[in-house]
Protein backbone atom coordinates (compact mmCIF):
# COMPACT_ATOMS: atom_id res chain seq x y z
CA UNK A 1 0.00 0.00 0.00
CA UNK A 2 1.12 3.55 -0.72
CA UNK A 3 2.95 5.15 2.17
CA UNK A 4 4.45 8.26 0.62
CA UNK A 5 2.92 10.20 -2.22
CA UNK A 6 4.40 13.16 -4.03
CA UNK A 7 2.03 15.09 -6.29
CA UNK A 8 3.08 17.64 -8.93
CA UNK A 9 5.82 19.04 -6.73
CA UNK A 10 7.53 22.28 -7.82
CA UNK A 11 10.47 23.44 -5.74
CA UNK A 12 12.51 26.58 -6.29
CA UNK A 13 15.80 27.96 -5.05
CA UNK A 14 15.12 31.64 -5.46
CA UNK A 15 15.07 32.21 -9.20
CA UNK A 16 15.96 28.65 -10.10
CA UNK A 17 13.33 25.94 -10.39
CA UNK A 18 15.04 22.78 -9.18
CA UNK A 19 12.07 20.37 -9.14
CA UNK A 20 9.38 20.52 -11.82
CA UNK A 21 6.02 18.82 -11.44
CA UNK A 22 7.43 15.68 -9.88
CA UNK A 23 4.95 12.96 -8.92
CA UNK A 24 5.59 9.46 -7.62
CA UNK A 25 4.40 6.98 -5.03
CA UNK A 26 6.35 4.87 -2.61
CA UNK A 27 4.74 1.76 -1.20
CA UNK A 28 5.39 0.23 2.21
CA UNK A 29 8.59 -1.85 2.07
CA UNK A 30 9.71 -0.43 -1.27
CA UNK A 31 13.13 1.01 -2.02
CA UNK A 32 13.15 3.70 -4.69
CA UNK A 33 16.52 4.93 -5.95
CA UNK A 34 16.80 8.36 -7.54
CA UNK A 35 19.60 8.77 -10.05
CA UNK A 36 20.47 11.82 -12.12
CA UNK A 37 23.22 14.27 -12.97
CA UNK A 38 24.31 17.16 -10.80
CA UNK A 39 21.60 19.76 -10.65
CA UNK A 40 18.85 17.33 -11.65
CA UNK A 41 16.94 18.13 -8.44
CA UNK A 42 17.44 14.93 -6.41
CA UNK A 43 18.64 16.51 -3.17
CA UNK A 44 16.07 19.29 -3.38
CA UNK A 45 13.32 16.70 -3.84
CA UNK A 46 14.49 14.76 -0.78
CA UNK A 47 14.77 17.91 1.31
CA UNK A 48 11.28 19.02 0.41
CA UNK A 49 9.87 15.61 1.35
CA UNK A 50 11.65 15.94 4.69
CA UNK A 51 10.24 19.42 5.17
CA UNK A 52 13.62 21.14 5.05
CA UNK A 53 12.65 23.06 1.94
CA UNK A 54 9.16 24.37 1.27
CA UNK A 55 7.82 23.61 -2.22
CA UNK A 56 6.38 26.34 -4.44
CA UNK A 57 3.50 24.08 -5.52
CA UNK A 58 2.26 20.52 -5.21
CA UNK A 59 1.75 18.16 -2.31
CA UNK A 60 3.50 15.62 -0.14
CA UNK A 61 1.24 13.00 1.45
CA UNK A 62 2.00 10.43 4.10
CA UNK A 63 -0.65 7.74 4.50
CA UNK A 64 -2.89 9.82 2.27
CA UNK A 65 -2.67 12.77 4.66
CA UNK A 66 -1.35 16.06 3.25
CA UNK A 67 1.79 17.06 5.15
CA UNK A 68 3.00 19.72 2.70
CA UNK A 69 2.70 22.44 5.34
CA UNK A 70 3.94 20.36 8.27
CA UNK A 71 7.36 21.59 9.50
CA UNK A 72 10.39 19.28 9.35
CA UNK A 73 10.55 18.43 13.08
CA UNK A 74 6.88 17.46 13.06
CA UNK A 75 7.45 15.23 10.02
CA UNK A 76 10.11 13.36 12.00
CA UNK A 77 7.44 12.57 14.58
CA UNK A 78 5.15 11.38 11.78
CA UNK A 79 7.90 9.03 10.58
CA UNK A 80 10.00 10.76 7.91
CA UNK A 81 13.75 10.80 8.54
CA UNK A 82 16.42 12.31 6.29
CA UNK A 83 20.08 11.29 6.20
CA UNK A 84 21.42 14.45 4.60
CA UNK A 85 24.21 14.74 2.09
CA UNK A 86 27.43 15.34 3.99
CA UNK A 87 26.02 13.57 7.08
CA UNK A 88 25.72 16.75 9.22
CA UNK A 89 26.37 15.16 12.61
CA UNK A 90 27.02 17.22 15.74
CA UNK A 91 30.82 16.87 15.61
CA UNK A 92 31.39 17.87 19.26
CA UNK A 93 28.95 15.28 20.60
CA UNK A 94 29.69 11.59 20.96
CA UNK A 95 28.20 8.96 18.69
CA UNK A 96 25.80 7.96 21.44
CA UNK A 97 24.76 11.57 22.12
CA UNK A 98 24.06 12.07 18.41
CA UNK A 99 21.84 9.00 18.48
CA UNK A 100 20.05 10.01 21.70
CA UNK A 101 19.16 13.48 20.42
CA UNK A 102 17.42 11.91 17.45
CA UNK A 103 15.74 9.29 19.61
CA UNK A 104 14.30 11.98 21.87
CA UNK A 105 12.63 13.66 18.91
CA UNK A 106 11.24 10.71 17.00
CA UNK A 107 8.60 8.00 17.36
CA UNK A 108 8.53 5.04 19.70
CA UNK A 109 9.58 1.77 18.07
CA UNK A 110 12.16 -0.99 17.85
CA UNK A 111 15.16 1.27 17.21
CA UNK A 112 17.17 2.42 20.21
CA UNK A 113 20.87 2.87 20.97
CA UNK A 114 21.24 -0.85 21.58
CA UNK A 115 19.59 -2.02 18.37
CA UNK A 116 21.37 0.63 16.27
CA UNK A 117 24.74 -0.47 17.63
CA UNK A 118 23.80 -4.06 16.85
CA UNK A 119 22.93 -3.07 13.29
CA UNK A 120 26.18 -1.09 12.94
CA UNK A 121 28.69 -3.12 14.98
CA UNK A 122 31.54 -0.84 13.88
CA UNK A 123 30.01 1.90 16.04
CA UNK A 124 29.95 -0.13 19.28
CA UNK A 125 33.61 0.60 20.26
CA UNK A 126 33.16 4.22 19.14
CA UNK A 127 30.02 5.13 21.06
CA UNK A 128 31.84 7.50 23.43
CA UNK A 129 34.01 9.02 20.68
CA UNK A 130 33.26 12.47 19.37
CA UNK A 131 31.47 12.20 16.02
CA UNK A 132 33.90 14.70 14.50
CA UNK A 133 36.81 12.34 15.15
CA UNK A 134 35.31 9.45 13.14
CA UNK A 135 36.20 8.39 9.61
CA UNK A 136 33.78 9.16 6.79
CA UNK A 137 32.33 5.63 6.79
CA UNK A 138 31.87 5.65 10.56
CA UNK A 139 30.19 9.04 10.37
CA UNK A 140 27.87 7.79 7.64
CA UNK A 141 26.91 4.78 9.76
CA UNK A 142 26.23 7.15 12.67
CA UNK A 143 24.11 9.38 10.43
CA UNK A 144 22.00 6.44 9.25
CA UNK A 145 21.77 5.18 12.84
CA UNK A 146 20.67 8.62 13.96
CA UNK A 147 17.85 8.59 11.39
CA UNK A 148 16.82 5.08 12.49
CA UNK A 149 16.66 6.25 16.12
CA UNK A 150 13.54 8.23 15.16
CA UNK A 151 11.89 4.95 14.11
CA UNK A 152 11.01 6.28 10.68
CA UNK A 153 8.36 4.86 8.41
CA UNK A 154 10.20 6.34 5.42
CA UNK A 155 13.96 6.71 5.39
CA UNK A 156 15.42 9.30 2.99
CA UNK A 157 19.09 8.73 2.17
CA UNK A 158 21.04 11.34 0.24
CA UNK A 159 24.23 10.09 -1.43
CA UNK A 160 25.39 7.90 1.42
CA UNK A 161 28.47 6.85 -0.54
CA UNK A 162 29.67 10.38 -1.31
CA UNK A 163 33.26 10.96 -0.23
CA UNK A 164 33.69 7.47 1.23
CA UNK A 165 36.38 4.94 0.41
CA UNK A 166 35.02 1.98 -1.61
CA UNK A 167 35.43 -0.35 1.39
CA UNK A 168 33.39 2.01 3.57
CA UNK A 169 30.70 2.21 0.88
CA UNK A 170 30.48 -1.59 0.84
CA UNK A 171 30.00 -1.54 4.61
CA UNK A 172 27.26 1.08 4.46
CA UNK A 173 25.48 -0.87 1.73
CA UNK A 174 25.65 -4.14 3.64
CA UNK A 175 23.82 -2.40 6.49
CA UNK A 176 21.31 -0.93 4.05
CA UNK A 177 20.58 -4.30 2.51
CA UNK A 178 19.77 -5.67 5.95
CA UNK A 179 17.41 -2.74 6.55
CA UNK A 180 15.72 -3.35 3.22
CA UNK A 181 15.31 -7.06 3.98
CA UNK A 182 13.69 -6.16 7.29
CA UNK A 183 10.97 -4.31 5.35
CA UNK A 184 12.10 -0.69 5.63
CA UNK A 185 10.71 1.87 3.20
CA UNK A 186 13.56 3.81 1.63
CA UNK A 187 14.01 6.61 -0.85
CA UNK A 188 17.66 6.98 -1.74
CA UNK A 189 19.77 9.18 -3.99
CA UNK A 190 22.65 7.22 -5.46
CA UNK A 191 25.14 8.23 -8.16
CA UNK A 192 26.40 4.71 -8.68
CA UNK A 193 23.88 3.05 -10.98
CA UNK A 194 25.22 -0.44 -10.27
CA UNK A 195 24.50 -0.07 -6.57
CA UNK A 196 21.12 1.51 -7.22
CA UNK A 197 20.08 -1.34 -9.51
CA UNK A 198 21.23 -3.85 -6.94
CA UNK A 199 19.40 -2.58 -3.85
CA UNK A 200 16.34 -0.80 -5.19
CA UNK A 201 12.95 -2.22 -6.07
CA UNK A 202 12.44 0.75 -8.41
CA UNK A 203 14.68 3.32 -10.07
CA UNK A 204 13.69 6.84 -11.08
CA UNK A 205 16.00 8.94 -13.24
CA UNK A 206 15.80 12.71 -12.96
CA UNK A 207 16.81 15.22 -15.60
CA UNK A 208 16.58 18.97 -15.07
CA UNK A 209 14.02 18.75 -12.30
CA UNK A 210 11.77 16.08 -13.83
CA UNK A 211 11.49 12.32 -13.51
CA UNK A 212 12.16 11.19 -17.08
CA UNK A 213 12.37 7.43 -16.59
CA UNK A 214 11.02 5.08 -13.94
CA UNK A 215 10.95 1.31 -13.64
CA UNK A 216 12.10 -1.80 -11.83
CA UNK A 217 15.71 -2.96 -12.19
CA UNK A 218 14.38 -5.80 -14.37
CA UNK A 219 12.74 -3.34 -16.74
CA UNK A 220 15.69 -0.96 -17.02
CA UNK A 221 19.03 -1.47 -18.68
CA UNK A 222 22.15 0.57 -18.09
CA UNK A 223 21.76 1.87 -21.65
CA UNK A 224 18.22 3.13 -21.11
CA UNK A 225 19.17 4.85 -17.86
CA UNK A 226 22.24 6.42 -19.51
CA UNK A 227 20.07 7.80 -22.30
CA UNK A 228 17.61 9.31 -19.85
CA UNK A 229 20.40 10.55 -17.57
CA UNK A 230 21.95 12.74 -20.25
CA UNK A 231 18.70 13.43 -22.09
CA UNK A 232 20.39 12.71 -25.39
CA UNK A 233 17.23 11.50 -27.09
CA UNK A 234 15.46 14.72 -26.21
CA UNK A 235 15.54 17.65 -28.52
CA UNK A 236 14.90 21.18 -27.49
CA UNK A 237 11.94 22.67 -29.38
CA UNK A 238 13.38 25.00 -32.00
Amino acid sequence: MTLLQVESLDVRHGLLQAVREVSFELGEGETLALVGANGAGKTTLLRSIAGAHRPAAGHVLLDGKDITRVPAHERVKLGIALVPEGRRLFPGLTVEENLLIAGANGRPGPWNVKSVLEAFPLLEPLRRHRAGSLSGGEQQATAIGRALMTNPRVLLLDEVSLGLAPVAVDGVYRSLEKLIESGATILLVEQDLGRALKVASRIACMLEGRIVLEGTPAELTRERVTEAYFGLKRSVPA
Binding site: Q17, A37, R195, R222, L232, P237
Partner: protein, 276 residues
Amino acid sequence: MSDYSEQRLDSRTGFDVASGVVVSSPEEPAGGRSVPLLEAVGIQKRFGALVVLNGVNFAVGSDEAVGIVGPNGAGKTTLLSILAGAQRPSGGRVLLRGDDVTGAGSARRCRLGIARAHQVPKPFGDMTVFENVFVGAAMGSRKRRSEAYDRSLEVLELCDMLDVANRPAESLGLLHRKRLELARALATEPEVLLLDEIGAGLTDEEAAALVVTIRELRRQRVAIVWIEHIVHVLVQVIDRLVAMDAGRVIAEGAPDEVMRDAKVIDAYLGSAGAVA
Protein backbone atom coordinates in the same frame (compact mmCIF):
# COMPACT_ATOMS: atom_id res chain seq x y z
CA MET B 1 56.86 11.30 -5.39
CA SER B 2 57.81 9.70 -8.69
CA ASP B 3 54.30 10.45 -9.92
CA TYR B 4 54.91 14.07 -9.31
CA SER B 5 58.14 14.23 -11.31
CA GLU B 6 56.36 12.37 -14.08
CA GLN B 7 53.68 15.03 -14.06
CA ARG B 8 56.30 17.76 -14.22
CA LEU B 9 57.61 16.04 -17.31
CA ASP B 10 54.07 16.00 -18.67
CA SER B 11 53.77 19.73 -18.44
CA ARG B 12 56.83 20.22 -20.62
CA THR B 13 56.00 17.62 -23.22
CA GLY B 14 52.22 17.93 -23.31
CA PHE B 15 52.09 14.16 -23.17
CA ASP B 16 49.88 12.45 -20.63
CA VAL B 17 52.07 9.70 -19.21
CA ALA B 18 49.31 8.03 -17.23
CA SER B 19 46.91 7.47 -20.10
CA GLY B 20 49.57 7.49 -22.81
CA VAL B 21 47.63 9.91 -24.93
CA VAL B 22 48.49 13.22 -26.48
CA VAL B 23 45.27 14.93 -25.54
CA SER B 24 45.11 17.90 -27.87
CA SER B 25 43.99 17.16 -31.42
CA PRO B 26 45.22 13.59 -31.71
CA GLU B 27 44.06 13.29 -35.32
CA GLU B 28 46.37 15.99 -36.56
CA PRO B 29 50.05 15.27 -37.25
CA ALA B 30 52.17 16.81 -34.53
CA GLY B 31 54.49 18.59 -36.94
CA GLY B 32 52.03 20.28 -39.22
CA ARG B 33 49.27 21.48 -36.95
CA SER B 34 48.34 25.11 -36.72
CA VAL B 35 48.63 27.03 -33.48
CA PRO B 36 45.35 26.86 -31.51
CA LEU B 37 43.71 30.11 -30.48
CA LEU B 38 43.79 29.26 -26.78
CA GLU B 39 45.71 26.38 -25.31
CA ALA B 40 46.41 24.98 -21.86
CA VAL B 41 49.45 22.73 -21.63
CA GLY B 42 50.12 20.30 -18.80
CA ILE B 43 47.98 22.19 -16.32
CA GLN B 44 48.35 21.27 -12.68
CA LYS B 45 46.30 22.88 -9.96
CA ARG B 46 46.56 22.08 -6.29
CA PHE B 47 44.65 23.57 -3.38
CA GLY B 48 46.88 22.52 -0.49
CA ALA B 49 47.04 18.72 -0.62
CA LEU B 50 44.08 18.48 -2.98
CA VAL B 51 45.02 18.00 -6.63
CA VAL B 52 42.21 19.48 -8.70
CA LEU B 53 43.84 19.37 -12.13
CA ASN B 54 46.44 16.77 -12.92
CA GLY B 55 48.20 17.29 -16.23
CA VAL B 56 45.35 18.67 -18.32
CA ASN B 57 45.95 19.60 -21.94
CA PHE B 58 43.22 21.57 -23.65
CA ALA B 59 42.97 23.54 -26.87
CA VAL B 60 40.36 25.48 -28.77
CA GLY B 61 40.85 26.71 -32.31
CA SER B 62 39.55 29.97 -33.66
CA ASP B 63 36.08 29.36 -35.08
CA GLU B 64 35.67 26.23 -32.98
CA ALA B 65 33.18 25.39 -30.23
CA VAL B 66 34.31 22.93 -27.58
CA GLY B 67 32.11 21.55 -24.79
CA ILE B 68 33.39 20.33 -21.43
CA VAL B 69 31.42 17.81 -19.36
CA GLY B 70 32.19 15.79 -16.26
CA PRO B 71 30.76 14.96 -12.84
CA ASN B 72 31.07 17.36 -9.90
CA GLY B 73 34.64 17.84 -8.77
CA ALA B 74 36.12 16.94 -12.15
CA GLY B 75 37.92 20.29 -12.30
CA LYS B 76 35.95 21.91 -15.13
CA THR B 77 35.37 25.30 -13.54
CA THR B 78 38.94 25.43 -12.24
CA LEU B 79 40.20 24.81 -15.78
CA LEU B 80 37.98 27.63 -17.05
CA SER B 81 39.30 29.93 -14.30
CA ILE B 82 42.84 29.14 -15.33
CA LEU B 83 42.04 29.81 -19.01
CA ALA B 84 40.43 33.11 -17.98
CA GLY B 85 43.32 34.14 -15.74
CA ALA B 86 41.23 34.24 -12.57
CA GLN B 87 43.44 31.53 -11.05
CA ARG B 88 47.10 30.71 -11.56
CA PRO B 89 47.99 27.07 -12.28
CA SER B 90 50.42 25.29 -9.97
CA GLY B 91 52.16 23.98 -13.09
CA GLY B 92 51.78 24.19 -16.85
CA ARG B 93 51.19 27.07 -19.24
CA VAL B 94 48.36 28.92 -20.95
CA LEU B 95 49.00 30.09 -24.49
CA LEU B 96 47.00 32.57 -26.54
CA ARG B 97 47.87 32.32 -30.25
CA GLY B 98 51.07 30.64 -29.13
CA ASP B 99 52.06 33.44 -26.73
CA ASP B 100 52.50 32.54 -23.07
CA VAL B 101 49.85 34.40 -21.04
CA THR B 102 50.14 32.26 -17.89
CA GLY B 103 51.22 35.29 -15.87
CA ALA B 104 48.52 37.62 -17.20
CA GLY B 105 45.57 38.34 -14.91
CA SER B 106 41.95 38.18 -15.98
CA ALA B 107 41.65 41.92 -16.80
CA ARG B 108 44.63 41.71 -19.14
CA ARG B 109 43.34 38.50 -20.74
CA CYS B 110 39.97 40.11 -21.25
CA ARG B 111 41.63 42.85 -23.29
CA LEU B 112 43.56 40.20 -25.19
CA GLY B 113 40.25 38.65 -26.27
CA ILE B 114 39.28 36.07 -23.61
CA ALA B 115 35.90 36.65 -21.94
CA ARG B 116 34.07 34.54 -19.41
CA ALA B 117 30.44 34.17 -18.37
CA HIS B 118 30.27 32.88 -14.81
CA GLN B 119 28.09 30.10 -13.41
CA VAL B 120 26.55 32.47 -10.88
CA PRO B 121 25.83 35.82 -12.53
CA LYS B 122 26.93 38.77 -10.40
CA PRO B 123 25.88 41.92 -12.23
CA PHE B 124 26.27 45.39 -10.75
CA GLY B 125 22.84 45.21 -9.14
CA ASP B 126 22.04 48.88 -8.80
CA MET B 127 23.14 49.69 -12.34
CA THR B 128 20.87 49.22 -15.34
CA VAL B 129 21.25 46.38 -17.81
CA PHE B 130 22.63 48.83 -20.37
CA GLU B 131 25.17 50.23 -17.89
CA ASN B 132 26.36 46.74 -17.00
CA VAL B 133 26.96 45.93 -20.65
CA PHE B 134 28.54 49.34 -21.25
CA VAL B 135 31.15 48.62 -18.55
CA GLY B 136 32.16 45.52 -20.50
CA ALA B 137 32.30 47.39 -23.80
CA ALA B 138 34.23 50.39 -22.43
CA MET B 139 36.67 48.58 -20.14
CA GLY B 140 37.04 45.25 -21.86
CA SER B 141 38.29 46.49 -25.17
CA ARG B 142 39.25 50.12 -24.41
CA LYS B 143 36.71 51.58 -26.78
CA ARG B 144 35.88 55.20 -27.17
CA ARG B 145 32.61 56.22 -25.52
CA SER B 146 30.55 56.33 -28.72
CA GLU B 147 31.94 52.99 -29.94
CA ALA B 148 31.26 51.39 -26.59
CA TYR B 149 27.72 52.75 -26.75
CA ASP B 150 27.15 51.23 -30.19
CA ARG B 151 28.68 47.92 -29.17
CA SER B 152 26.45 47.78 -26.08
CA LEU B 153 23.31 48.23 -28.16
CA GLU B 154 24.48 45.61 -30.65
CA VAL B 155 25.07 43.08 -27.88
CA LEU B 156 21.77 43.85 -26.15
CA GLU B 157 19.97 43.24 -29.42
CA LEU B 158 21.84 39.98 -30.03
CA CYS B 159 20.96 38.79 -26.52
CA ASP B 160 17.35 39.95 -26.92
CA MET B 161 17.59 42.34 -23.99
CA LEU B 162 16.76 45.71 -25.52
CA ASP B 163 13.35 45.72 -23.86
CA VAL B 164 14.91 45.45 -20.40
CA ALA B 165 17.94 47.69 -21.10
CA ASN B 166 16.87 50.38 -18.65
CA ARG B 167 15.90 48.09 -15.81
CA PRO B 168 18.15 47.78 -12.76
CA ALA B 169 20.07 44.49 -13.04
CA GLU B 170 18.93 43.40 -9.58
CA SER B 171 15.30 43.36 -10.76
CA LEU B 172 15.97 40.68 -13.40
CA GLY B 173 14.77 37.09 -13.26
CA LEU B 174 17.08 34.10 -13.79
CA LEU B 175 16.82 33.96 -17.59
CA HIS B 176 17.65 37.63 -18.00
CA ARG B 177 20.45 37.43 -15.46
CA LYS B 178 22.04 34.62 -17.43
CA ARG B 179 21.60 36.58 -20.64
CA LEU B 180 23.12 39.66 -19.04
CA GLU B 181 26.11 37.60 -17.92
CA LEU B 182 26.56 36.52 -21.54
CA ALA B 183 26.01 40.07 -22.84
CA ARG B 184 28.60 41.54 -20.48
CA ALA B 185 31.17 39.06 -21.71
CA LEU B 186 30.26 39.66 -25.35
CA ALA B 187 30.51 43.42 -24.95
CA THR B 188 34.27 43.03 -24.57
CA GLU B 189 34.39 41.67 -28.15
CA PRO B 190 36.10 38.41 -27.28
CA GLU B 191 37.78 36.09 -29.72
CA VAL B 192 37.09 33.24 -27.34
CA LEU B 193 34.15 33.07 -24.98
CA LEU B 194 34.29 30.85 -21.88
CA LEU B 195 30.83 29.81 -20.68
CA ASP B 196 30.20 28.16 -17.31
CA GLU B 197 26.81 26.44 -17.02
CA ILE B 198 24.80 29.25 -18.49
CA GLY B 199 22.02 26.77 -19.37
CA ALA B 200 21.32 25.57 -15.82
CA GLY B 201 17.79 26.17 -14.60
CA LEU B 202 16.42 27.33 -17.94
CA THR B 203 13.17 25.96 -19.34
CA ASP B 204 13.22 24.10 -22.66
CA GLU B 205 12.10 27.22 -24.55
CA GLU B 206 14.74 29.35 -22.83
CA ALA B 207 17.41 26.78 -23.59
CA ALA B 208 16.33 26.75 -27.24
CA ALA B 209 16.69 30.54 -27.36
CA LEU B 210 20.16 30.22 -25.86
CA VAL B 211 21.14 27.74 -28.57
CA VAL B 212 20.04 30.25 -31.23
CA THR B 213 22.17 32.98 -29.62
CA ILE B 214 25.27 30.79 -29.35
CA ARG B 215 24.87 29.69 -32.97
CA GLU B 216 24.76 33.34 -33.99
CA LEU B 217 28.03 33.91 -32.10
CA ARG B 218 29.58 31.04 -33.98
CA ARG B 219 28.42 32.64 -37.20
CA GLN B 220 30.32 35.73 -36.05
CA ARG B 221 33.36 33.48 -35.63
CA VAL B 222 33.67 33.71 -31.85
CA ALA B 223 35.38 30.61 -30.46
CA ILE B 224 33.41 28.95 -27.64
CA VAL B 225 34.43 26.86 -24.64
CA TRP B 226 31.27 25.76 -22.83
CA ILE B 227 30.95 23.80 -19.58
CA GLU B 228 27.40 22.48 -19.35
CA HIS B 229 25.59 19.75 -17.43
CA ILE B 230 22.65 19.92 -19.83
CA VAL B 231 24.33 17.75 -22.41
CA HIS B 232 21.49 17.61 -24.93
CA VAL B 233 21.62 21.41 -25.23
CA LEU B 234 25.40 21.48 -25.41
CA VAL B 235 25.67 18.95 -28.25
CA GLN B 236 23.51 21.14 -30.49
CA VAL B 237 26.22 23.78 -30.63
CA ILE B 238 29.64 22.20 -30.23
CA ASP B 239 32.09 20.62 -32.69
CA ARG B 240 34.09 18.73 -30.12
CA LEU B 241 33.50 17.45 -26.60
CA VAL B 242 35.99 17.02 -23.79
CA ALA B 243 35.04 14.84 -20.80
CA MET B 244 36.84 15.31 -17.50
CA ASP B 245 36.91 13.30 -14.29
CA ALA B 246 38.99 13.76 -11.15
CA GLY B 247 41.28 16.39 -12.61
CA ARG B 248 42.01 14.66 -15.91
CA VAL B 249 40.70 14.58 -19.44
CA ILE B 250 39.22 11.09 -19.87
CA ALA B 251 37.79 11.36 -23.38
CA GLU B 252 37.78 13.80 -26.24
CA GLY B 253 36.33 13.90 -29.73
CA ALA B 254 33.01 13.94 -31.58
CA PRO B 255 30.24 14.70 -29.03
CA ASP B 256 28.15 11.58 -29.67
CA GLU B 257 31.18 9.32 -29.47
CA VAL B 258 32.38 10.87 -26.21
CA MET B 259 28.91 10.49 -24.68
CA ARG B 260 28.91 6.80 -25.65
CA ASP B 261 32.42 6.26 -24.24
CA ALA B 262 32.31 3.68 -21.44
CA LYS B 263 34.87 5.69 -19.41
CA VAL B 264 32.58 8.73 -19.51
CA ILE B 265 29.45 6.81 -18.55
CA ASP B 266 31.36 5.10 -15.74
CA ALA B 267 32.55 8.48 -14.44
CA TYR B 268 28.94 9.58 -14.02
CA LEU B 269 27.13 6.38 -13.18
CA GLY B 270 29.78 4.25 -11.52
CA SER B 271 31.64 1.40 -13.14
CA ALA B 272 29.42 -1.10 -14.96
CA GLY B 273 31.21 -4.11 -13.56
CA ALA B 274 32.03 -2.86 -10.07
CA VAL B 275 29.02 -4.16 -8.17
CA ALA B 276 28.57 -7.89 -8.27
